[in-house]
Subunit: 337 residues, 2 copies
Amino acid sequence: MSDSGPTSPVVLNRKEIEALAGLESDAFDPDAFAAGAFDAIAEGFVRLARGEVRQPPVLSLDLPEVAGELDVKTAWVRGWDSFCVKLSTGFFRNPELGLPSGSGLMVVLDATTGRPRAVLLDDGLLTDLRTAIAGGLAARALARPDATVAAVLGAGAQARWQARALAAVRPLSEIRIWSRRPDAATQCARDVERHTGVPTRSADSVAEALRGADVVVTTTPSQEPIVPAPLLQPGMHLTSMGSDGAGKRELEAALLRRADLIVVDHLEQSRTIGELQGIDANTVSAPVTLGEILAGERTGRHSDDDVTVCDLTGTGVQDSAIARWLLGRYEAHGAGS
Amino acid sequence: MSDSGPTSPVVLNRKEIEALAGLESDAFDPDAFAAGAFDAIAEGFVRLARGEVRQPPVLSLDLPEVAGELDVKTAWVRGWDSFCVKLSTGFFRNPELGLPSGSGLMVVLDATTGRPRAVLLDDGLLTDLRTAIAGGLAARALARPDATVAAVLGAGAQARWQARALAAVRPLSEIRIWSRRPDAATQCARDVERHTGVPTRSADSVAEALRGADVVVTTTPSQEPIVPAPLLQPGMHLTSMGSDGAGKRELEAALLRRADLIVVDHLEQSRTIGELQGIDANTVSAPVTLGEILAGERTGRHSDDDVTVCDLTGTGVQDSAIARWLLGRYEAHGAGS
């Protein structure tokens, strides 16, 4: 690519982004995992709660002819020097071609001039990371400080990512993985143990995975609840991050009714595409936003016995936060490759 | 940028795009101007008319805090191997910083897999070009074949582009430029003459510019009509391309009522953001789409005396068409730089 002058945006490919984010090796250091990105995303949630974010409706293109879909999201944050426009695609015949279904990229625009500052050809990596970090932030704010046993439901990419984020915020001694597909759970447990250094095993049932668990993350695309209310235990924290579309849900309504605290990343989204779909607001404790909790404006857990739930649907401000964080690392260190 | 494997998208900067589009020099050859791009965009309009295009609502982010705006458009066309997602920004304090208000880029996605095929860092160039070509296509289809005198209202970038597109489709002997700002008209006339080789002069009034003109293009952001109906002359063709937003209009309603043929690029847009805003459908001839005309499904001008009008609001399919055309040239010739 020839030079087109000083205003040319930076273009980073996936390898360069992995290196900048400190994700290029399997070696896992919980204290260094995505160092700084937790704070960057926490700031995004706080600003979202304070109404300092402009986030227009998602552009959605449905392509039933080719079993494909495109979403474009953006969020501008007052005072930040950049914001992100993220394209993400799901083309569900790709596996027949040996390709992953999903892909995507982020364009980072200057917040003052609108000019492109960077194109991040991350192929969805930064979305995985910002989603995992939201789970980590929820666990850090809401799980008992002495939480040591984690359960992850689902065995896909986010199951692995969420396990890493949990291991970064709590001194875990054990992780259990459950999936409808036992083979996938076994493989996922192996990967998670390698990534986190925490002893990890697959569980045969949701009940077995949750027995004695202090912190639970659900990462499935389920349209039926997979966590029934009777499996709740005093002091448990649950984060649901799989439900991000109309009709999806992972937690039983009765479970939500029994929770002492319900936290959401984005209240309207939680009601339209998250766990609060179809839930009568009078039957559950009034939801608090993760931003209010992280800002210290609202209290999280009041006692070791509280049951806390966090519903994450995914917000554009996380994209702008992770892109800004990554670009800051690039500017400080260079691509390093 | 290091290599990230065979699936890395092509990244082209503005210089490379200019070279691929044959726009790198001032030399103008009407037969070679954007060769192939006219056909590419004509095919897009035809497919739009045939209902073979999926075009979701535009994503719009308004940022009054920084006098900025972002639009994201996309259009998928059945049977095409790629489609475009275009970001365009207008940040109206940029001139204070010595920067143009507008910028943008296009991301080209594979239409079968959704994976990014190219990032075109064109900074708005391809939008200028596809907009000009739509004007050229309208004039080629609707102006009298022997049209030799052209008038362009407005003296911005599109005035220059539209003049080039007109010169590419009709054997012009004279071009007149009118602007509210006489100095701008003089400068624009100088540029247009240099670009097209056609004798070009500035006009002191719209009436002077239109007297004896065969083909007229309006390129202003006006919210009040600038072309009154009495200036119509038998046989004249007018293209309005400036009105592309709520409240904008360049042609008097009485002019539309007197036109023998009204052509639009996109009927719904013409009614919401174009010249048909607030026009009673019963008072004007039933609009025909440019795609129907270009497909030969509808007749354009019936006689040398017909007055024809074309309202262009801009469509996502033009973006997908120009990006696909440019990528085809890249694949055939390489970046050449």
